[in-house]
């Protein structure tokens, strides 16, 4: 029975796996941690975001750490599965992690109660829970970047600035899952308020077939502007379909997950010219922080990876920078030892944090865990993206009022 031997090896592998217990933090280290999806449905994003985060932490340690303390960031792969994310959270918690990056909308939802109970902070940039903007209701969750509601508010502000007037037609094409539907109410509300003629077009998961929706938009509805909110492979397909139907791409504005380099590569750069997409972190390498990372690679004699400076990479840098800044403020204001509570209070002290123009002027407060809901629109030009607007907010009052309402509803629920 040769299989027996294989089986034996399998058992050995299992035992080795189990014995490789997580190592606890050293005394002078500050533990941060988070999950990542490098093999699951969002791997094309995860394999770029997470290196960005890890590189930023490496940069911090490279340049002397935070207030003289080394940061250790442990990443656990969860493949976008909720049960593995729970395990990852518990594992990192056991290692002494004081602040987390939560990766993925369903994961943020599932981990929220744990963050509250354990008083450990989680940042969720771009992943979810618009209502967690209200830091009084969700003390330990920081969306830390424009939520889908703020993004929608900003998109509506943008189309208004672009000359969409009362009575004009406006389309919203979205991925038909909770994350895709999240901004739907805000869209309808602003439509009613401004008197636009609005229609929504749902793309069912997995979002690889949307010819009929886009035909409907471009040939029948003929809107003045389209707001697009798609994930995964869907944005690339939508770009191709819009192009095929001759719809001007500079009349399409995508929320944050629809405008990364992978999307343009798979749609073809030549097909994506003029496409507008929203970002909550700077794009490109012309920022001091990205240059510092490049220099770090050069100092180490390594080749600079191609992904440095790309859309998702920079979002990873944003996550890392926010976690580190929260820790820095915590040490400055509240001293050691660092706990989740102190990092939370430290985060709330972060003011006008922009990393030299890389980020919008993020300012957190106990009532605002979003940092202001800033975004910036970039346009695809050549094989890259150029800024189309400056950092801006849109319909801030309306969005915040909705957040309040959602929190109230959540309490009575």
């Amino acid at each position: 029975m040769q299989y027996r031997r294989w089986l034996g090896w399998g058992m050995v592998a299992l035992l080795v796996g189990l014995s490789g217990a997580p190592t606890p933090a050293l005394a002078e280290e500050i533990m941060l941690g988070g999950q990542c999806d490098r093999t699951g449905p969002t791997k094309n994003v995860g394999t770029v975001i997470c290196p960005g985060l890890l590189d930023y932490i490496r940069l911090v340690n490279h340049t002397g750490g935070v207030e003289g303390h080394t940061i250790r960031y442990d990443e656990v792969e969860h493949a976008y599965k909720v049960d593995r994310a729970v395990e990852a959270y518990e594992r990192l918690k056991r290692q002494g992690v004081v602040a987390f990056l939560d990766y993925g909308t369903p994961i943020v939802y599932a981990l929220t109660p744990r963050h509250m109970e354990d008083k450990l902070l989680g940042i969720t940039p771009g992943f979810g829970r618009a209502d967690s903007t209200d830091g009084e209701a969700f003390p330990y969750i920081f969306p830390a970047a424009a939520t889908y509601w703020s993004q929608m508010g900003a998109a509506m502000q943008f189309v208004k600035d672009q000359g969409v007037k009362k009575g004009d037609k406006l389309g919203y094409i979205f991925y038909d899952n909770p994350a895709g539907r999240e901004p739907l109410d805000i869209f309808q509300m602003i439509c009613d308020q401004e008197g636009y003629e609005c229609r929504t077009f749902a793309v069912p998961p997995p979002g690889v077939e949307m010819a009929s929706q886009i035909l409907d938009i471009t040939r029948r509805f003929k809107p003045k502007f389209v707001i697009s909110h798609l994930f995964g492979k869907a944005p690339a397909i939508s770009i191709k379909e819009f192009k095929k139907n001759g719809f001007p791409l500079d009349k399409v504005v995508s929320l944050v997950w629809g405008g990364g380099e992978p999307d343009f590569i798979s749609a073809g750069w030549e097909n994506s010219q003029g496409y507008l997409a929203m970002h909550f972190a700077g794009v490109g390498r012309d920022f001091p922080v990205i240059q510092a990372i490049i220099k770090m690679y050069q100092d180490e004699g390594q080749e600079v990876p191609e992904i440095v400076g790309s859309v998702f990479y920079n979002r990873g840098v944003l996550s890392g920078a926010l976690l580190v800044e929260g820790v820095r403020q915590a040490i400055q204001h509240f001293g050691l030892p660092i706990t989740g509570e102190k990092v939370k209070m430290g985060m709330e002290k972060v003011k006008d944090f922009s990393l030299g123009g890389f980020l919008p002027p993020l300012t957190f407060a106990p009532s605002d865990h979003e940092g202001g809901g800033w975004v910036r629109i970039y346009q695809t030009k050549g094989e890259g993206m150029v800024p189309y607007t400056d950092w801006f907010q849109g319909y801030r009052d309306l969005v915040l009022a909705e957040v309040k309402k959602a929190v109230e509803k959540g309490k009575s629920n």
Binding site: G17, S19, L54, E75, V86, D176
Partner: protein
Amino acid sequence: MINRESGVFQTSYEGDMSLYTLPLAKRAVWVVLVLLVLLPVPLQLMQNEHLMSIATTIALAAIGAIGLNILVGYTGQISIGQGAFMAVGGYTAAILSSRYGMPFWVGILAGGFVTMLVGTLFGIPSLRIKGLYLAIATLAAQLIIEWTINHVTWIGGGAQSSIYVTNPTLGGFEFNNEFRRYYLVLVFFLLAFFSSQNLIRSRIGRAFIAVRDRDVAAEIIGVNIFRYKLLAFAISSFYAGVAGGLWTYYLRIANYENFTLIVSIEYLAMIIIGGLGSILGPVLGAIFIKLLPIAMDIGVVGVAKNVFGVPYEGVANFLANFQLFVFGALIIIFLIAEPEGLARMWENVKRYFRLWPYSY
């Protein structure tokens, strides 16, 4: 083991009817039971919520897998809708406790019964179609249920399709940490395990097996196929609903993205690896499917760092994919080594040691 070769002879009807006839098996079950009940004690002393959460997740998965095995393994009706059925239970529980203030046990039981109805409904096609065709029909169930939760505001509770619940409480006792939640799940796991063991040796269980082995023959000897196929769907869905409800209370949120198609497939994998048509099989399968990725994750990363000295940053993508590769390879190896699953492997081990060291 020790006293089997000369035969175990029962002298009472109770003894003959008991679940475990061998004295040693009885003792072993008691030992395992005590170990399961006492498991949180050392973990709590070590403050190890991590291992506790893994154990709870495995117990939860085992409930769903035992249920699915009744349908697939014993009755021979393939279902790829287990995830969706769990979602039905999860949302029922969440709606009842968050909107109507019902205690958790009402939520879990109601989740079981509502899922039972839904499962029976989607089981009706099984009367006409078999095998892969039925699999596709249950796939439809998965998609329909997901869509419904997603789009009916009353069920999903709005755009996010997720409902929060508070910690379950029982007479002032709040299940507010991992160790307490483990007991909550353990009780239902033990109920599921022993009730299905009893079910299978009853008239119903034998009818299920008859239907699986040859439904025409079963009908000829007087098994009402209509009734038993639907009953299999009903019972299996009940387990799924309970598991879904528990999962909701465990996470304290009902979110249909926890119950997608990939989850259904994972449950099928559990029972196939564990062993179709056994009760222990799904449990072993749940342990395998839930524990191995975690062990791989800790182990592969640890080995890369401590043995080969490579920093995580450089090889993260490789490691993540390598784990999938090894995971897949292990599944194949286990299935080749023992197509009848881990449960059969365990039987073989027991058989080997039965006459040890004088085995022939």
